[in-house]
Symmetry: C2
Subunit: 211 residues, 2 copies
Amino acid sequence: MACPRHMLLLLSSAIDVPHHEASGGGASKGKGAILTVPARQEKGGMRRGMAIIDLVLRIGAVVAALAAAATMGTSDQNLPFFTQFFQFEASYDDMPSFQFFLIAMSLVAGYLVLSVPFSIVSIVRPHASGIRLLLLILDVVALTLATSAAGAATAIVYLAHNGNSSSNWLAICNQFGDFCQTVSGAVVASFVTVVTFMFLILLSAVALRKH
Amino acid sequence: MACPRHMLLLLSSAIDVPHHEASGGGASKGKGAILTVPARQEKGGMRRGMAIIDLVLRIGAVVAALAAAATMGTSDQNLPFFTQFFQFEASYDDMPSFQFFLIAMSLVAGYLVLSVPFSIVSIVRPHASGIRLLLLILDVVALTLATSAAGAATAIVYLAHNGNSSSNWLAICNQFGDFCQTVSGAVVASFVTVVTFMFLILLSAVALRKH
């Protein structure tokens, strides 16, 4: 063969190198696949676990918000008598704050039910950060709504229990004990919703940071 | 030459390819450096801009929270007369909800002042996501505190303005008009704080996602 030896060497090396590179690349790819897939799986698994906790907390918040709204909505009490100063029926309709409470907690419960599918999507695709961000922002809005309703209802319930001597507002819970008990239960359920929302936002923020 | 043409072609391509790769790699590296440094600067600049907006909003929230607390704290009104049913002095001390409002807004204002240095650090180092996450979580806690105080004070102010015929609670703003005006102003300032907090949390969440 008249082909010079160094050309052949070059040729063999030229053939070898891609082969080596190819096999090496394949090996390193395989090794990389072995090394990186568990890391990605571990990270994805942790974020999937956080998404599952998010779903569980969200369902708990749905239950708490529905309980608060339903308890407030069914807080009628009829008395067998009435005096000059007090009606014989107490209902959430009598207080604008309780009406706001019912509307706000119903809205929050509806939002929470609608957000469950998005939470499930973020379990299936743990690396989609847009859904996380959307849920976080809407959660903050719902948290504000639920907290303001809870605060307003708490102020009125406190007034109904204790009255206020400075402004001459008498306590009405002496007459309407069952009504006050029911409304207090609704307020407690709304605060459970608020605390659950804070944990939901904490989870979303941590998941966004680990992205 | 007895060397087959396809061997030479292979050889030339084998020689060419690394050379091309080397120069191409260098060129693409150089180009990549030209392309990525402005991208990083642009991204850092955008996040620095968001951090600056965060600082400005935070200072505005400090002003609003301090205004709410100070207005509520100075809402005394003395009347030149008193009747059988009403005291001749109205103050935030008379209502537990207003006391809670004052304490909560003072706490929020204190937290906001303490959080300004962290906001400045996140301007200097826009890529530190830990500070962002810390500020977001503490902002959510402060938002909840401010919102509950604002809701409770709003419920009482509404009652003071309008009264409630069902529970026989009379409106006291006929007697204490200045007191009611002052307290209403404090409530408005607290809602400004709440809205500012929501924008702060939105900014932090978007900055965390872009990390």
